[in-house]
Symmetry: C2
Subunit: 306 residues, 2 copies
């Protein structure tokens, strides 16, 4: 039996900077592959070749179902999968966009992102992670926090995304750490200096209006008071996460919060929320995209109710 | 009479990205020249050649006094001119650092910047602009605002800098406009959309803790509500200037404020302050560095009291 004979469908996580594919029979993972052909570097005509380069060996001559999520469905992606409006289930099988292909073995459908009219907000990719989490925890009622380049805070109730808000915390951190005057005297990649992180966090939660006033102080203390590079980086992280938490207070105050992720960043959010009396828990996020695509596949095939 | 015969001294404004020199007899400008040999691109050994390339034709065989200010005196510059601590006159002739030279015709002294211990802050270059302003307005008592890459708010009393605070507003604006996800759907260089600027400014002055929550909304409204590129840019400007003003409130509330600069940016600050009931005035900033170096030259030569 060849590989292609056993493939049932292919799940694709196609973000800005990476392309990841999984070969599946039902919910059994038979193979995984990835490349750096993220949508950020591709023109519309380059998506099909990039996908074929990764999965051609898995395809059946009769055609193979492929479900893809992430920025591949953005306006600048392969084909736009228009946003679905909240409140709604994170994925429900509606709004899928068929990608235009030349190779008839490819039957590619792209998961739509979610939009919120007021305050205006969008997500693309996280809806599938959220669906994966709810597949594991179907009765969850509370708030999900997905920290990262664009952190998302998401209210979940009765299996639906009720509202959400995006913070550019990770992107602003990377720009200030790598490209601003603060890059002098800042250690990249080191662990957190807990004391510096906690002090900055507490400062922002007490005085959230002073973010703009605090940033240059990192540089000045580096020059005048020999603030260490790891303390400088930890303070910047604490200031920006603190400003995010202060502005996201309506999301977490008195709520059950799950932080998606098991890395240093998720731990920093759990630590920060604990300082505010919120006992958030971190949940591993690695497998959630695939779990969400499995959930969607089951819903499409089996007519599962939302 | 050759050029070199008439040169009395040379004033140099040496910032991160540009080098500007003026040939003077007393306070009379005989010549001006500039290059893009800013300190940001120079190794220590490259400063003397960069300066000679610009001013060699002006030098007297017996040597010429050169006063330089700006980032040339930073730790990463030609030679470090250690900061003077506020409160103090912006320049008083103390703390000048002699630059190491091979060409005996160069007698270069570099103006020290100012430091503040608590909250930690530094300036380098602005002290000379401030001295130039005070040379024109010797009795000034109030607050100077110097908007830019690193905006400075400066309390002046009895001819001294009493305290100051730096905001990275211009640098953060440039990074978000040019390098973040907000670059999609943002017009560079266009004028301000006053309505969008004013609304964002008012939002930040009323809800200064929400800066982190507002940034991604620019992108989302561009996607969902066709926010125009000029409105997007104006809103970003209004959010960041509004956050600066909110955090700088102790500097301007009930004070006499002069905004140094006569460009669009200074006008935006004046407009913003007016919305808060502060009748700030804009003062041209172009000639202030030279006026400050002239003031310093006079003080060194004539023993003017501070």
């Amino acid at each position: 039996m060849t590989r292609a004979d056993t493939t049932d469908w292919i799940a694709v996580d196609w973000g800005t900077s990476a392309l990841r594919a999984s070969r599946l029979r039902g919910v059994e993972i038979l193979d995984e592959a990835q490349s750096d052909a993220g949508m950020g570097g591709l023109a519309p005509s380059e998506f099909e070749p990039a996908l074929l380069a990764l999965v051609e060996g898995w395809l059946s001559p009769d055609g193979t179902d492929i479900l893809a999520c992430g920025m591949v469905g953005a306006r600048q992606g392969w084909v736009e999968a228009p946003y679905r409006a909240v409140p709604c289930a994170p994925v429900d099988g509606t709004g899928l966009a068929a990608a235009p292909v030349r190779d008839p073995r490819l039957r590619v459908r792209i998961v739509p992102g979610l939009m919120q009219a007021r305050p205006a907000d969008v997500m693309r990719g996280e809806e599938t992670q959220i669906a994966g989490y709810l597949a594991q925890e179907p009765g969850f009622d509370g708030v999900l926090c997905l920290p990262g380049t664009h952190s998302k805070w998401v209210r979940i109730s009765a299996g639906e995304v009720v509202s959400f808000q995006t913070f550019m915390t990770g992107e602003v951190f990377a720009l200030l750490q790598g490209r601003s005057v603060l890059r002098h005297g800042m250690a990249e990649g080191a662990g957190l200096d807990d004391a510096a992180f906690d002090a900055a966090l507490s400062d922002m939660l007490s005085h959230p209006a002073l973010l703009a006033a605090r940033l240059f102080g990192i540089r000045a203390e580096g020059l005048l008071q020999e603030l260490s590079p790891s303390a400088a980086r930890s303070r910047l992280s604490g200031l920006l996460i603190g400003a995010e938490l202060a502005a996201a207070r309506p999301y977490w105050l008195g709520q059950q919060v799950v932080v998606i992720g098991a890395d240093t960043l998720a731990a920093a959010y759990v630590r920060a929320l604990a300082s505010q009396g919120v006992q958030a828990v971190a949940a591993p996020g690695d497998a959630l995209v695939l779990a969400g695509l499995m959930r969607l596949r089951a819903r499409i095939n089996g007519g599962l109710k939302p």
